[in-house]
Symmetry: C2
Subunit: 200 residues, 2 copies
DNA sequence: CGCGTTGCTAAGCGCTTGCTTAGCTTCGCG
DNA sequence: CGCGAAGCTAAGCAAGCGCTTAGCAACGCG
C-alpha cells in the first residue's frame, strides 16, 4: 500500500462474514457490473449460501451503496489530505497525483464508484452526489487560487475543472495492473499533464 | 449536425423496423446499460412485440455488436479525416477536437461504445478491439511526429497517448446536453488542453 | 441450566428474463 | 389468380432472478 493513497482497510466492517460479502461484491460489481452480478455469486465468493447475504445486508442495492459511500469518502479524504499547504501548483500536483494513484491502485472499487451510480436508489445517489460536489469544489478552488496569484491560466474554469477530474477518473476504466505502470509513477505523470494544462 | 463530426446516419440499416430497433437499443443501452435492458424494452421503443426483434436480429448481443462496430468505425473515420495535413500540433488539435465533439454530440452511442465492451462475445470484442488499436495508433503517431520535429515534449509516450484519448473518451460518461456547452466549443477547449499537455 | 440472540442453510416463491413456436397478414411477382 | 417470402403477434417455455421462510446449531449471560 503506497504512502500517498489511504489504506482502504475494511476492518471496520464487522463481523468478518459481512466484510467478505462486501469485498466479494466489490470484485463482482467491478468485473461484471451491478446488474449482471447475482446475489448467489456474491454469496459464493464469501463462501456462504445465498440466504446468508440477507443476514448482513437488506438488499443487493444496499451492498452497492455501502461500497459507493465508503469509496467516495476515501477519495475525498485523500484529496483533502493532498490539498494541505504549498503553492496552487504544489496543491494541484499533489491532488492529481493522489487522486490518480487512488484510481489505479483501487481500480476495482473505483470502477464501482464511478460507473455504478445509476444503480443506486435516488436517496442513496443524493448522498454520494454531495461528496462528488465536494471533490469537484476542491479542484475548482485550487485552480481559482492559481489564476488569482497569476501562476495559472485557465480560460474555462468549470470546463477545465471537469477535465482535470475526468483525466484521473478515467484511469479506473482502463487501468490493468498486469499491463500498466505502478500507481505512483502514473500519478506523477498525470500531475505533470494536469499542471501543464493550466500553467500560465 | 456539426461539420467536424460525421453525420452518423442509420439509413443503411434496412428495413426501417430494424433501424427503429437499433436506435431504440442505443437509447436503452446508454440509459440503463446492456444487462439492465430487456428485449421487451427495446421492442416497445420500436413499437413492436418482443418477438419481432428476432425477425431482424438473432440475439440481444448481436444488436449490441452492430451498434458497437458502427460506432467504433464512425469514431475512427472522423479521427482519420482530422489527421489530414498540417503540423503535428494542427493534426493533434484537429483530432482531439473532432474526437471530443463526437463523444459529446453522440454521447449515447459513445456510452455504448466505451462502457459495454465487456458484454460483447469474445469474437465480437476482438473485432472492435482492432479498431480501438487503430485509433490509439493515430494519436501515438502524431505525438511521435511532434517529438521528432521538436514541437512536442513527451516523457512517457504510451502513457501520454492513453491520457489524451482518455480525456476525450470520458466525455461520454459525464456529458449532458442540457447542462453542458455545445459539442464544438468543448472540442476546442479539449484540443487546447491536449496541446498544452505535450507542448515543448 | 435456561433462553434469547446471532449466523447460518435448505428449500422455494413469485416474477422476469432471453428466446421460441405457431400461425396470421401483406405483398411482389409469375 | 396462386404462392412463397417477409414481417409481424399471441402465447408461452425453461432458466434464472432477488429475496423470504422455516428451522437449526452455537454462544453469552442471568
Amino acid at each position: 500500500m503506497s504512502a500517498v493513497t489511504s489504506p482502504l482497510a475494511w476492518e471496520h466492517v464487522q463481523p468478518a462474514a459481512a466484510r467478505r460479502l462486501l469485498t466479494g461484491a466489490i470484485d463482482a460489481f467491478a468485473e461484471r457490473g451491478f446488474q449482471a452480478t447475482t446475489t448467489r455469486d456474491i454469496a459464493t465468493r464469501a463462501g456462504m449460501s445465498p440466504a446468508a447475504l440477507y443476514v448482513h445486508y437488506p438488499s443487493k442495492e444496499r451492498l452497492l451503496f455501502e461500497i459507493s459511500l465508503y469509496g467516495h469518502r476515501a477519495a475525498l479524504e485523500i484529496l483533502t489530505a493532498a490539498n494541505d499547504g504549498g503553492s496552487p501548483a504544489d496543491r494541484l500536483r499533489a491532488m492529481v497525483s493522489a487522486f490518480t494513484s487512488w484510481h489505479a491502485e483501487h481500480h476495482t472499487i473505483a470502477r464501482v464508484v464511478q460507473y455504478e451510480l445509476a444503480a443506486l436508489s435516488p436517496e442513496h445517489f443524493a448522498e454520494v452526489a454531495t461528496i462528488r460536489r465536494a471533490i469537484s469544489t476542491l479542484i475548482e478552488q485550487v485552480l481559482t487560487d492559481g489564476v488569482t496569484n497569476g501562476t495559472f491560466k485557465v480560460d474555462d474554469l468549470p470546463g477545465t475543472t471537469l477535465a482535470v477530474l475526468s483525466l484521473s477518473i478515467d484511469v479506473a476504466r482502463w487501468y490493468d495492473p498486469t499491463r500498466h505502470p505502478a500507481a505512483e509513477p502514473l500519478g506523477t505523470l498525470y500531475a505533470d499533464l494536469a499542471h501543464r494544462m493550466v500553467q500560465a
